[in-house]
Each structure stands twice: as structure tokens, then as C-alpha cells.
């Protein structure tokens, strides 16, 4: 094993938003910094490259945000999605600090835009990156380069060595060559373990092998596992992951935003056996899309099929792949690989249960079915107008909840107490705050806030 020729003040494990915020903050405080990014350069940035906005507290309108979004409302929104599974102290810290992040991000190259098509509902709470998360990642890498930060790509950290109450060095494979890196301080920002299908299968069950991974294939949780094995304190449900229902034809990894499907509220969704299994019209899609990952995951073969007719095909965002199309329900079922007879029965039963009434695609219209075991409570219109369209749905994993427990200085702890020179930021510690569910744009808030804290604390430690 080779030694890196230089000892750095700070080694940052990971190369996404949180890692970059830590590296930039420490470098501005005068530290020499090394970023170890596990992905090759074209895929740098972890799941941050798939993001689009960050949720930001503010007291008055400030570009690009409208209105005001204050601490209590923000916390209330977080409590709703996590059902109280959050560390309130850390949550309040993240929320309060998000306010000062907005100007900091702009000073470090991130550019924002007003919310445009289809995202107006978030214009008050979420600041949208111009060009999305990869543009943010590019801006931060340029800022880091200008500050003299060293970046090693294709640098997979295999072991972070804990000796007593501090980290002494780490081992990494850099472009296939084993290297030992020594530093005075370490920040772990290497994400969750959702791309390790074996780990997912152990945690969730063998069905997890059929899940699609929406983000980077490089978040395999190697450093998380290594730290847990060395006694670092953990937080978050180790068996759970956040999944949404996405286009079943999406790539196994890295399909990102385009694989989402917004058609469910205007569909009927059947499983492999042609049966409906949940109310498709429960609520508007942004409030419900997250539960459908789980619902589909619980079906045989972890697959569902959304069936739509010509009346509804233009009511949702375009899909990345065109839908399967047929002139009859039976033909559609056959094309989707389903047995036509039960699908026909389900559609007939559903159509018979639909009631006349006014249909309003943009609001809860109360147009529900009557007499079905599995009701559809809004937007229930008979599936009767050819051509018919179908989408295969599969669970797409976004992130995992298990992480390292940190304190309000982002410091990692073992049973014996704080590890003196180790901090964590981003998805690897987000389970402390997001114990369940998800709040749009909050992952980037956690990454930015705790990345900056970790960088500042690390710099103070080595000063």
C-alpha cells in the first residue's frame, strides 16, 4: 500500500454537496483539504447531482423565494412527514441555519432561478438551482479548485481507522491503487448504502433485489459499515429505505428525475395478478407519490401497472419512455405481460363503480367509486376511451435511513464519547433528522448546513 505523499489538515470522504460544503468551509479557514470522491469525474457529486432545490427558511421574500417560511411552519412540515421521528434540536438547527445558507451558496457560485413549470407550489419554500444539482456540484468543485482543494476521483475509501478516540488515517483505492491517507481531521460525507443491493436485501428482504436505485451507484455504504463495525453510534431504522414508484423500464441505477411517473391519480393501478391494491386517488400526487414505492414493493414481484385511457393521457408530465399503447384493454394487458381476463374483470368492476360528477384534475374533486373493496376516492372516471395506455411501475430507492449519529457540532460519537477529529454530514447522518418519510429539498438543506458545520469544526480542531 502506498502512502499519499502529503498529510492534509482535512480529508473529506465523499464528493457531493455536503462534502463540498465542508471542504470549501475548511479551505477558506486556511486548511489544506483532500476530497476523496468515490465516483469517476463524470459521475462526481453523489446524489446531489440529481437534486434540484433546497428548502430554505426565510422571514420575507428573498430571491428566488416568495413570501415567508418561518421556523415553526418548517418544523411542522418536517413533523408531518417524519411523524415525529426526528431529533428536534438538530432539526431546528438545520432549519435555522438554512436561512444563512442561501447567500452563502450564491457567494460560492450556486445560481438560483424562480420556480417555473409545474413547481410553483414550491416557490415559497424551496430555492431552485439554475440548471439543477449538477450545476451546483460543478460550481462548488470550481470554487474548491480556486481555494486549492485537492480532489481525488475514483477514490473509494475502504477503511477509516479509529484508534482510541481519534481517527489516524484511512485506506482508499484510488483508481485501483491502494493508498493510505493521513490527515489531522476527517469528515465523512459519503452518503447512504442504497446502491449495495446485497445490504438492501439483507435489511429489507430478497424482494429488494427487484428495486431500482434512482441515484448514484457509488453510494454503497462502505464507510458507514466500517464505522458501525468500529462502534460508532448509529441512528435511523436500519431496515428502511425511501422509495417512490417509478417507470419500471428505468435503468437499474442513476435514472434520476426523468423516471418519475405522475400518472397514478388518473390511472387504475393493478398488480401482476390484475388486481387493484390501493386508492389511486387518495390525494394530489406530490403528497402521495412517496407511499407508492412501498405499495408496489409489497406486491408480488414488486411490480405494478398503471392503466390510463385517452381521456387522461395529457393530464400529467411527459414520461421519459413512451407508454405502452393499445386499442383494447385486453390488448394492453397482453402487451404489458398480464393475463387479459382478470385485468378486464378489474376494469369492468371499476367502471361499474364510477359515478357521474364533475372531474377536476388539479384539486380533490371527490369523484369517487362506490361499492369497491379498494375504493378510488378522487378522479375516478371509467377506463373506456381508446386508445389505452399502460406504464409498468417499480420501486425506485432514493435513500436509506440508517446513518451515523451526530451532535449539534456534526461530531461522530462512539460508545466512549465523541471521536475527537471526526465529523459527518449529508445523507450519512441525515437519519438523525429524517427518521421517516421525506420533505422535498430537505436533503440538500441537511447537507449544506452540516457540511458547513463539519468544515468549520474540523478547521477549528486543526488550527
Amino acid at each position: 500500500m502506498k502512502d499519499w505523499p502529503k498529510t492534509f489538515d482535512l480529508a473529506v470522504v465523499g464528493g457531493g454537496n455536503a462534502a463540498l460544503c465542508a471542504a470549501i468551509t475548511a479551505a477558506e479557514a486556511g486548511c489544506t483539504v483532500l476530497i476523496l470522491e468515490g465516483a469517476p469525474q463524470p459521475y462526481r457529486g453523489g446524489n446531489s447531482r440529481h437534486t434540484r432545490n433546497f428548502r430554505c427558511m426565510h422571514r420575507q421574500p428573498v430571491f428566488p423565494l416568495t413570501g415567508a417560511y418561518e421556523e415553526e411552519e418548517y418544523l411542522h412540515d418536517l413533523m408531518l412527514v417524519t411523524k415525529g421521528k426526528t431529533d428536534e434540536g438538530l432539526a431546528r438547527l438545520a432549519i435555522r441555519s438554512s436561512e444563512e445558507c442561501l447567500p452563502w451558496m450564491q457567494q460560492h457560485g450556486v445560481r438560483f432561478q424562480p420556480s417555473l413549470s409545474g413547481t410553483l407550489s414550491l416557490s415559497r419554500t424551496n430555492a431552485f438551482f439554475l440548471g439543477g444539482g449538477k450545476a451546483l456540484v460543478n460550481a462548488y468543485y470550481n470554487t474548491a479548485a480556486d481555494l486549492g482543494v485537492t480532489v481525488a476521483y475514483d477514490a473509494q475509501v475502504t477503511h477509516v481507522h479509529l484508534d482510541g478516540d481519534q481517527i489516524t488515517h484511512l485506506h482508499a483505492d484510488i483508481a485501483g491503487v491502494p493508498v493510505t491517507v493521513t490527515a489531522r481531521a476527517f469528515v465523512l460525507a459519503s452518503g447512504g448504502f442504497q446502491a449495495d443491493l446485497d445490504w438492501l436485501a439483507r435489511a429489507w428482504g430478497p424482494a429488494a433485489r427487484n428495486f431500482l436505485i434512482r441515484g448514484t451507484p457509488y453510494n454503497r455504504g462502505v464507510v458507514l459499515r466500517d464505522m458501525l463495525d468500529q462502534g460508532a453510534e448509529s441512528v435511523g431504522d436500519p431496515t428502511q429505505c425511501h422509495a417512490v414508484a417509478i417507470d419500471g423500464r428505468a435503468p437499474k441505477f442513476d435514472g434520476g428525475i426523468v423516471t418519475r411517473l405522475d400518472c397514478v391519480p388518473f390511472s387504475i393501478v393493478v398488480n401482476r395478478d390484475g388486481d387493484r391494491f390501493h386508492d389511486e386517488g387518495e390525494d394530489v400526487w406530490p403528497k402521495r407519490y412517496a407511499i407508492w414505492g412501498r405499495l408496489v414493493a409489497a406486491q408480488p414481484d414488486q411490480v405494478g401497472y398503471a392503466l390510463i385511457d385517452a381521456k387522461s393521457i395529457d393530464l400529467f408530465m411527459p414520461s421519459v419512455f413512451p407508454p405502452v399503447k393499445a386499442d383494447t384493454v385486453e390488448e394492453l394487458a397482453a402487451k404489458l405481460g398480464l393475463d387479459p381476463a382478470p385485468v378486464r374483470r378489474t376494469v369492468d368492476g371499476f367502471n361499474a363503480a364510477c359515478r357521474p360528477g364533475a372531474f377536476h384534475p388539479t384539486e380533490l374533486d371527490g369523484l369517487g367509486t362506490e361499492g369497491l373493496a379498494v375504493a378510488k376516492t378522487n378522479w375516478a372516471r371509467p377506463l373506456d376511451t381508446p386508445p389505452f395506455y399502460g406504464y409498468e411501475l417499480r420501486p425506485g430507492v432514493t435513500f436509506t435511513y440508517l446513518g451515523l449519529k451526530v451532535d449539534d457540532r456534526a461530531q461522530v460519537h462512539s460508545e466512549a464519547g465523541p471521536i475527537r477529529n471526526l465529523w459527518a454530514a449529508g445523507e450519512i447522518m441525515a437519519g438523525s433528522i429524517l427518521g421517516q418519510g421525506y420533505l422535498a429539498g430537505f436533503g440538500m438543506t441537511i447537507g449544506t448546513v452540516f457540511g458547513r458545520i463539519a468544515g468549520k469544526e474540523a478547521a477549528a480542531h486543526v488550527a
Binding site: 445560481r111 432561478q113 413549470s117 409545474g118 439543477g132 449538477k134 460543478n138 418519475r260 411527459p318 414520461s319
Partner: protein, 371 residues
Amino acid sequence: MSLDTAPDTAPVTSLGSFEEARRQIEICNACRYCEGFCSVFPAMTRQKAFADGDLTQLANLCHNCRGCYYACQYTAPHEFALNIPAALGEVRAESWERLARPQALARLFQSHGVAMAGLLAVALACFFWALAALKPETGAGFYAHLAHNTMVAIFVPAFLAPLGLIALSIRDYWRETGGGRVRLIHVLRALDSAARMKNLSGGHGEGCNFEQGDRFSDRRRVFHQLMMYGFLLCFAATASGTVMHYAFGWEAPYPLFSLPKLFGVPGGLMMVAGAAGLVWLKLRAERTLGAARVWGGEMAFILLLGAVALTGLALYAATGTGLTGPLLAIHLACVMVLFLLMPFSKMVHGFFRLAALTVEAGKPAPAGGGE
């Protein structure tokens, strides 16, 4: 509007660039992260299926700023392998060739700088011959070498005929892209975009990603505007000279403090600076993020514009010396090639861009869908 991917209209050509652009744009339209960069992305959200005419319009709205390439999650090695600037660049270059008449000349000169150089050599030979054979008995300044009426007889048709061909191309463009009735307000909006080169601003005003990878730079916008306004000043110089000649009987050569020189000298200097800058940027920029096949033709076009300005300035500087004759021949040859190739070179981009911006201004504001 339908999700059906079969466009309503028959395909305009069987070339593969439409298919590739359609594949990429349909992926793009399901993401929309880039909607803040330029006019292309909001325009895209009006539909789910893209006919060839829709793609032609998007391609001519695209100014090749490359912001969307560097911000894209789906560039190679990702299996979606998006490269929107190149895909639209190909469709754009092809549209200028397809809508030109004759198409063969456009195909030749759009992509082959050597062809342009060859035509220049022929023009040089012609003008040296003309200066020797048609030398007038009398005349002042460069009219001592070639009579005013001879120049008019040569250049008026050489200027107007290509403009006529371009007008036919733009009419065809309008039909292909479904442009509506031309209204003054839409033209003014298009001119405003072009005057500020809004689509090279990056959406944040810091410019585009051209010569230094994913870092933003305003240099391309600056050099382009030096070239464009320099060219317009030179055009104003010629126009004012014509008015002075015919309306006031005041013939060239004009002194420095006269409209033709006050427009022409700064205009020429701006064009030289713009050309030098654009050549420098083009040499540094990644060729695969545009229509690589027309790189040579584009480069030759910039050099030609620079040559027109430089020889014009040299001709002025050489007033009264023995170099006036040869420099006049060289300058006139450059101008002649520029005029003749207007419909067949990168020069048409200005006309197509204005048409695309006007068509866009005439369409309803994009509504977009829900995420």
C-alpha cells in the same frame, strides 16, 4: 397534443439527426432542470411529441451556450448519452442546408472552409483582372481603379440576389415551424433578444460554457456583439456613403470626419477584434458539443468577416499610396465572397435566429406540467 410519438406531419427528411434529436429532447422534456438557461427549454414544454418542424424551431432557438450540457445528469457515460448542444447543432446546420436553394451549395460551403477559400481565390483573380481591364480614364481615390458605376453594376445584384434566396428560405422555415402571422411586437421582441444576445447570458447574466468547460464566461457574448455591431456599423457606413453619393452628389473618398468613416472605422476595428476573439474561443472550445461537421465552414466564415474588415481598414490606411489598387481588389473580393455566400454560409444564422425568435415570441407562453 398527444403522447403518441408519431408526429402529425410527414417527416421533412430521412436524415438521422432528427431521430437523435427527438430521442434526446423527449428525455430532456421529462426532466426540465435546464429551463432557466435559455429559450429552448420553456419552448420545449409546450408539447410531448416533437414533429420535425418543432425540432427545427428548437434547434434554431439554441445558441449553443452549452449550459445544459454541463448541467446534465444524463451525458455520457450515462446510457441516455444526452448531448443537446450537439444534437440541436446538427439539426440546425441541416435546416440551413435543407432550406437553402440550391441545397448543394449550402452543403458545400456550410461545412468546407476550403471551398470558401477556393471561391475567394477565384474572386481575387476576377477583381485583379477587372482592375487591369476596366481601369477608368478618370476618377478619384479607389474610383480611379474601378469606376463607381462598374462597382454598382457588380455589387448590387451580388447583394440582392442572395438576399432574395434567403427570403425564400425564411418563408419555408416559417411554414415548416408553424409560425403564425408576423406582428411587429413579436419582431421587436426578437430584435431585443438578439440585441442583448439574451440566449447567451446563461440565465444568470454570467454567460455561457464555451471555452473553459463548466465555468461560465461572457467572452463569447462580448466578441459576438463586437462582430455584430461592428458589422452593422460597416453596413451603416456603406449605406450612408450611398445616400451621400446619390442624394448629395458627394463622392468618395470621404474624410475621417464624415459619416461613412465615423461608422466604418470603428465598425471595422470592432469586427477585427470580434473575429480574433471568436477564432480564439472556437479553437479552445470542445468541438463535440456542436455540429462538428461544419466546424471548418464556421471557422472560415469568421476569418472571412475578419478579412473583410481588415482589408477595408487597410484600404483606408493605404489611401494615396501605390497599394490602393491591389488592396481594393482584395477587399472587393472578400466582400463579394461574403455577399455571394450569405445564403450558403454561417451568415444565414442571423436570419434564421431572428425568424426563430419571432416565431417563439408569437407562441403562447409555455404552461408546463406538474412535478
